[in-house]
Subunit: 168 residues, 2 copies
């Protein structure tokens, strides 16, 4: 642990604010109820087997469901799913699922109009600090060819499909 | 494991291609030599303590150094560090560090002109599939106020600072 924790924490916060983050709705079904949160701390892990990880705060409403249910959903929101993102931000519990076309037939809530949706089997959990790293192996996946992902950068949603390609 | 692995893998690849990824140079010093790779599978983990994780292929040249060295560097490349990204892509081993202003005084290679740079103490390693999740706790961090991160989307580098803010 560094002796300069407050300064490091503030620099870390600024560093994270100034990278582009895709907005995901992470979901699980538990005790017949839909649970979900918005998350940007998501990463692909391996292509063999296809797998990814999500970092979930232990204080989040989703933490208990996602660490108990067999499956969880990783829904990559598109620009046109911004109403879903705003619903998740405003509502609590199952009320978060009142906007958007959600299917629970697959074992975890899947947003049918998402940019991409990945249904994962939880295979590992690793705790560090305030968070748990939840590792999932894909069991089903959907991807929409058109559209752009909802992206968060410097406290705004941006349309990266309209960002200019960088040239040297 | 799903019976439909090839289709899932291809859908997963398309899903990952169509999200914006910040380009990081992950580095370590081992046996007095600089090691580094470009990576996009990086995520913040916790603010208490400030920590992040990187997913490293076990076949990558950095895997052995990063799992043995005490410290590693997470350098968030800026648009104006694209020459560093291209050097990393073209060269091998310590030759990757021949472009850019690199400091090794901190215990792992830090790019002085990076968008952000975070020096981490390795605190956990978790293996899954072809990759290892390396968890690091920040011991030093730097952030540059101006500039934009080098961002990869749909096989191109894009300038997200020029992306329009999305409105409903």
């Amino acid at each position: 642990m560094s002796e300069n924790q407050p300064a490091i924490r503030e620099t870390f916060r600024m560093a994270m604010r100034h990278i582009a983050s895709t907005v995901h709705a992470i979901t699980a079904l538990h005790a017949h109820e839909c649970h979900g949160i918005l998350a940007t701390a998501v990463s692909s892990l391996s292509f063999d087997p296809p797998s990814l990880l999500v970092c979930i705060n232990q204080a989040a409403s989703l933490h208990s469901p996602i660490t108990q249910a067999e499956l969880f959903g990783v829904n990559v929101l598109g620009l046109d799913n911004r109403d879903v993102a705003e619903r998740f931000a405003e509502a609590r519990g199952a009320e978060r699922f009142s906007v958007g076309d959600w299917s629970i037939d697959h074992g975890a809530p899947v947003l049918l109009g998402a940019q991409s949706a990945m249904l994962c089997r939880r295979v590992d959990c690793h705790t560090f600090g305030t968070h748990t790293i939840v590792v999932g192996e894909l069991v089903e996946a959907w991807h929409r060819q058109n559209g752009a992902p909802l992206t968060y950068y410097d406290r705004s949603y941006i349309d990266i499909s309209a960002a200019p390609v960088s040239t040297l």
